[in-house]
């Protein structure tokens, strides 16, 4: 029975590769823009004024606390009634960028707050401006805490990108659903879907491990 389906599945491989490309395009774009926005929000969240901090905080809570599917639906189906009409692809990228920015904001803010406050005080005492403090004292140290979870987060976001298939973006997961209609062996079809995600995610995970090893000196063994 598996042989019967396997030939069929191999026939659909080009379709799967198209889906792979779509996943890479949506998540790649969103991760790049999301990282930039996330860093800006994160820095504001860790330092900025109180009102700015609670607005960003509330937004992050809202995005982290609700299903991504609902966010995608709001951007794609409900914003048009406010006059903002978007195609599926840009809507997907906007939704995922926002999600990425929110998660990255938390990681960045956490990293900045983990820098001992003495460092900052010393910098102030040495007469460094707020920008100089951030640029030369705080961020370089915070990056050590930020980098490993940041790359780990990328992996999660690549996988979250599968949700955008609900608004008609034909990504890997969507291709899986379309194929399973014709080749009704869920295990095999989604096995292939899993392998394709693995192809994207595994290098990222290795990168994250590498970064972590380079940034920690001791290797703990229990």
């Amino acid at each position: 029975m598996w042989g019967f389906y396997f030939t069929e599945l191999m026939h659909s491989l080009p379709f799967f590769l198209k889906g792979l490309w779509m996943t890479v395009a949506v998540s790649g774009l969103s991760l790049i823009v999301g990282t930039i926005i996330g860093f800006i929000w994160g820095i504001m969240r860790a330092s900025g004024n109180k009102i700015l901090r609670s607005i960003i905080g509330a937004w992050v809570d809202l995005i982290r606390g609700t299903p991504f599917l609902v966010q995608v639906f709001i951007i794609f189906f409900i914003l048009p009634s406010a006059g903002i009409e978007l195609e599926a692809f840009p809507a997907a990228v906007i939704a995922l960028t926002n999600l990425a920015a929110c998660f990255i904001c938390e990681i960045v803010a956490g990293g900045i707050l983990a820098v001992p406050s003495g460092q900052r005080e010393a910098a102030t005492a040495s007469g460094l401006s707020a920008y100089q403090q951030l640029r030369y004292i705080v961020l370089p140290q915070a990056m050590r805490t930020i980098m490993p979870p940041l790359v780990g987060q990328y992996v999660l976001l690549v996988k979250d990108s599968s949700v955008v298939s609900a608004i008609g973006v034909v990504d890997i997961t969507r291709v899986g659903w379309l194929t399973v209609q014709r080749i009704p062996e869920g295990l095999m079809v989604f096995g292939l879907v899993g392998i394709l995600y693995f192809v994207i995610c595994y290098p990222l995970i290795n990168l994250s491990n590498l970064l972590e090893r380079r940034m920690t000196v001791v290797s703990t063994r229990l």
């Binding site: 069929e8 048009p80 609900a166």
Partner: protein, 265 residues
Amino acid sequence: MKKGKVFTILVSLAIFFSFLGIASAGTLDEIAQRGELRIAVQTQGAPFSFVDRNGKRTGSSIELCELIAKEMGVKIKFLNYDWDGLIPALLSKKADMLAADMTPTLKRAMKIAFTEPYMYTGSVVFVKQDSPIKSLEDVKKSGTKLAVLLGSTGENDAKKAFPEAELKTYKGGGPLLINAVLGGHTDAGVNDGSAVTGQSASFPPNSIRILEGQLSRSPLAFAVRYDSPDLLSWLNLFFLHVSLDGRLEENLNYWVNSLDWKKDH
């Protein structure tokens, strides 16, 4: 600290509900001006709407839509969603109409306008080839596990016909029901008869057996928004024409009433 948290929650809720907005209308004129008919479809499986082995979207509903666009003299654009996205797509005017093998229930018709039905079908019960279940009577036993599709007529029919049975609701298309039955997750499945026949064709021959008798007779129809009465009456006229000139019958005979399509797709 406490106050800050309450404030945060309030801001979240305010942002959430500020998405409640206002909108305008869409008609046949709009379609003609645009030169493009936008149709929301789902890919629920053969023979209505599926992607064939060449990666091409096809099926009974799809060909009907292509005929509609041809008669309108406009291009066609298929917007492909899953079940969750279908209704929002129509209501938010992303799509002019909805073409899925959807049952026009009275509750649903409170929200969207259905065309005259273009065909009738009925739910059937299917089991594994070697299942001890022989007739619909056997299914009525309490504790029988039934696989149904979320939001399908089969789901409603199963609830009514087999109140003692345990329903397991799946999503993602008819073939998954057959999978659930073959995988032993349920004893039987309930779905639209033509869908079961069409979809069982992609399984090894004689995997499943359809029990004799239909649970219901239900219409299938396309749908539009209530603010497009012009499109609605045009579609009804379209169905009248194609059923008079035999093109509807040709479509249904090829896709639904036989497995002729299997050769080509």
